[in-house]
Symmetry: C2
Subunit: 252 residues, 2 copies
């Protein structure tokens, strides 16, 4: 059996998340069906990790075993022809038989996009989270560095995860203003980027919520340090919605 | 009665266009219903012009007469609270009683966005038209200038319009590479901008299709001049899909 690695992009707005759920259509099931149409095989597709309902990906990675003799780079084209517009295979390569998208992942990069404006972002609905009002990006950009390094992120974790430890390493973190899509006027787009060894349930959305509250002047760097040290969820900020969250890259 | 002018943004993908049609939901009807919820009045809402199914707007303009005493700038907020995510009122102002969004329009700016990449743009599905393969943007940028000035655009018009003359003036035209949204890798975003006195049915989509074919080396500047002079539709390029088209601004 050959082992095929896929790099996957999707807009998560119309799905219940990566994994099969009781309600809604999962991204995984849509891709598995497309692979079946392309190869005739009902494969087991393992991703680097789940993404929740409404969360997007620019570089999700998954792998599957196949007996098909389609040339490795042609899998992307073949599978894409059976996928809807909002899911696509960016790249397909054949990889070592023991490669596993989740077990071999050394880290991930997540990005959280905030549209800071009184104006709704209708032409890009679902693609960023809107925060109206003042937002001090320079302060957020300083504070995000507090998350770098090895920390117990217990305060930045939603209930429901199944991991043994809440200690993770953040290799790098930044908050920057980036180009506004389609030159839409009246607002700015802010990107929170976190690169780390692994992420707890809702961790990026809670860290982003905490940074937004700091940018709004509702929270200080001392509050963030206290949350990190105490591990108490109440000391961290609100969980932001899934709309702004992108799994940007998986590191191997 | 007061006369209220609205600046409107929408993603057209889920609608049958601005105007009420037999099938599908129109943007106009959604906004009229929202105005009714906000004011209690069933108003006549006149736009600067129709947009077709799937076409977007960043600066559509419409006006309506009302007896409501809502402060003019609060109409935007009141109506927005009854609109879905993909339609929004950017601005509301009270204007002279004789202002009419269509009759008073002196010109319009349309933008057509092309995602030039082998990669699908899933996280922005419906927001740009994908053209894979080589595209000579420098040549397109030169050729677009041929459309500037007063011309008979008969060759760049779909059947079905109801205008008396196909002579229009293009005040300015450009083709530029613009920032890729969300720093998506593996492609570039090209923007065709046309500012003109008025536009015939499908005119921007046919001009854009002609420029793309020129950028692909399938068509020369001489071909464009011949199409302009002859008025023969067959001499112009294909009509591109609505996905990339934005009504950017209406000039008064």
């Amino acid at each position: 059996m050959r082992n095929i690695k896929l790099v996957i992009e999707y807009k998560g707005s119309n799905y219940c998340g990566w994994q099969v759920q009781k309600n809604g259509t999962s991204i995984q099931s849509v891709i598995v069906k497309a692979i079946e149409k392309a190869t005739g095989e009902n494969v087991a597709l393992s991703a680097s990790g789940r993404t929740d309902a409404g969360v997007h990906a620019l570089g999700q990675v998954a792998n599957f075993k196949t007996a098909s003799n389609i040339p490795s780079e042609r899998f992307a084209i073949a599978i894409n022809s059976f996928l809807p517009e909002d899911i696509s295979i960016v790249e397909s390569v054949e990889i070592d038989a023991d490669f596993h998208a989740r077990k071999n992942a050394k880290g991930k990069i997540y990005r959280y996009y905030i549209w800071n404006s009184p104006r709704k972002l209708s032409v890009l609905s679902g693609a960023a989270t809107r925060i109206p009002g003042e937002l001090d990006v320079a302060e957020m950009s300083k504070a995000v560095k507090l998350f770098e390094g090895v920390h117990d992120f217990a305060a930045f974790k939603a209930q429901g995860g199944s991991t043994k430890t809440s200690v993770r390493e953040i290799f790098g973190a930044s908050v920057t203003e980036v180009a506004v899509p389609f030159e839409i006027e009246g607002g700015r787009l802010v990107c929170i980027e976190l690169c780390g060894s692994g992420f707890l349930y809702n961790m990026v959305r809670i860290i982003s919520g905490t940074l937004v509250e700091l940018g709004q002047g509702k929270r200080s760097e001392t509050d963030i340090l206290e949350a990190l040290h105490s591990g108490e969820r109440e000391l961290a900020g609100k969980t932001l919605p899934p709309d702004g969250l992108y799994l940007y890259k998986v590191l191997y």
